[in-house]
C-alpha cells in the first residue's frame, strides 16, 4: 500500500507546487512509483511547473464524472520511470468535487503506487479539505516569514484535528546570508514556534525560477543547492536517515560577531 501525502501551507506562493513537483520527481529518481495529484481545481499549475501542460487530456474531474478510467487520466512523465501526473480540471471549481471523491481516487492510486503526493491549493476552505481528505500524512511548506508561519500554524491545527500524521515541515527559501545577519528566522526559531518535525530546509535558489521557466524540475539537474535539498528530503521520506545540514553560516559570521561582543 502506498503512502498518500498532502503538500500544503495555508498561505499561497510559498512553494507548494514547486515542492510537489520536485519531491515527486526526486522520489521517482529514487526508483519509487509516484503519482503527483493537482488538487487545485480551477487554478491548476502542477502541470506547467512539471512541463507536462501540453499532454493533459483528462483530469480528476473526468474520473469523478466517469468520463474515463483513472489509469487513462494519468499522464506519464517520460523523463523518468514511474512518475505520473493527475491534473486538476481548469473549467470547474473547488465546490464541484467532494472530499469523499478525492479520497476514493487516492485510495485507488495507493494500491498501484508507492507515493501519492497531493498538491493542495492555498487556503483553509473547501480546496484544502478536498486535498487532505485522502491523505494520511502531510508536508507543510513554509518560508521563514511571519505571514507564512502564522498560516502554517493554522493548517497544522486543522491537520491535527483531522488525525493526519506525521506532519513534516519543509522550510523553503531559506537564506543563509539573511539568517547570518539576523534578518531572517532560522530553522530553530521556526520549529520553536510550530512545534512539528522538520524534514528539510531548501535554500533560496534562483535555479527554481529558471527550471520553472523551462518546465524541468530542479532535481533533474542535481548540483544546485535547491535540487540537493529536495533529493535529501525525498530520501528522508523513504526512511533514510540523512542529517539536515546547517545552512546558516553561523560558524563564520557568528564567531566574528561573538568576538566583537566579547570585546565590548
Amino acid at each position: 500500500m502506498g503512502r498518500v501525502i498532502v503538500v500544503t501551507s495555508g498561505k499561497g506562493g510559498v512553494g507548494k507546487t514547486t515542492s510537489t513537483a520536485n519531491l515527486g520527481t526526486a522520489l521517482a529518481l529514487l526508483d519509487k512509483t509516484v503519482v503527483v495529484v493537482d488538487a487545485d481545481v480551477g487554478l491548476r499549475n502542477l502541470d506547467i511547473v512539471m512541463g507536462l501542460e501540453s499532454r493533459i487530456v483528462y483530469t480528476s474531474m473526468d474520473v469523478i464524472e466517469k468520463q474515463c478510467e483513472l489509469n487513462k487520466a494519468l499522464v506519464r512523465d517520460r523523463r523518468v520511470d514511474g512518475l505520473m501526473l493527475l491534473a486538476a480540471s481548469q473549467k470547474n471549481n473547488k465546490d464541484d468535487i467532494q472530499p469523499e471523491q478525492m479520497k476514493a481516487i487516492c485510495d485507488k492510486l495507493r494500491t498501484t503506487h508507492d507515493f501519492v503526493l497531493i498538491d493542495s491549493p492555498a487556503g483553509i476552505e473547501r480546496g484544502f479539505r478536498n486535498a487532505s481528505a485522502g491523505a494520511d500524512e502531510a508536508i507543510i511548506v513554509t518560508t521563514p516569514d511571519v505571514s507564512a508561519i502564522r498560516d502554517a500554524d493554522r493548517i497544522i491545527g486543522l491537520l491535527q484535528n483531522a488525525r493526519i500524521e506525521p506532519i513534516n515541515l519543509v522550510l523553503n527559501r531559506f537564506s543563509a546570508e539573511l539568517v547570518g545577519n539576523g534578518s531572517m528566522m532560522d530553522q530553530d526559531d521556526v520549529l520553536d514556534i510550530l512545534n512539528i518535525d522538520l524534514i528539510g530546509v531548501v535554500p533560496e535558489d534562483s535555479g527554481v525560477i529558471t527550471s520553472t521557466n523551462r518546465g524541468i524540475p530542479l532535481v533533474y539537474e542535481d548540483g544546485s543547492p535547491g535540487a540537493q535539498a529536495y533529493m535529501r528530503i525525498a530520501r528522508r521520506l523513504t526512511g533514510q536517515r540523512i542529517p539536515i545540514p546547517d545552512f546558516a553560516q553561523k560558524g563564520l559570521l557568528n564567531n566574528i560577531m561573538n568576538w566583537f561582543k566579547k570585546k565590548k
Partner: protein, 91 residues
C-alpha cells in the same frame, strides 16, 4: 570605537527576533480563539450540570477562561459556590 560596536552589534534588536516574538504572541492568540464561544458555552452548561449535584452556585458567577502557560494551554473555570450538598447525609 566602543560606541559604534555597540550600535552595530549590541543595541538594536535583530528583526528576526522581533519576528519570532510577534509570531509567538499572535499564534497563541490564534490558537485560543479557535476554541469558539459555542463550545465554551456548551462546556459551561455541562460542567454546571454535573457540579450542581454537589454544590449550589448562581449561574452568572461562573467564569471560564483559556490561557497559556509555556507550551501548554490551560482551561481555568471558577465556580464560586454558596452551599455544599452533602450527598451522604441525604442518603
Amino acid at each position: 570605537m566602543s560606541i559604534s560596536i555597540k550600535q552595530l552589534f549590541g543595541r538594536k534588536p535583530k528583526s528576526s527576533s522581533i519576528a519570532k516574538q510577534r509570531l509567538k504572541l499572535v499564534i497563541t492568540q490564534d490558537r485560543l480563539e479557535q476554541v469558539d464561544d459555542r463550545v465554551m458555552t456548551r462546556l459551561h452548561h455541562e460542567l454546571a450540570e454535573v457540579l450542581a449535584k454537589y454544590f449550589e452556585f448562581s449561574a452568572n458567577s461562573v467564569k471560564m477562561n483559556l490561557k497559556q502557560e509555556g507550551n501548554s494551554y490551560i482551561l481555568v473555570a471558577d465556580f464560586p459556590y454558596t452551599k455544599f450538598h452533602d450527598v451522604n447525609v441525604r442518603q
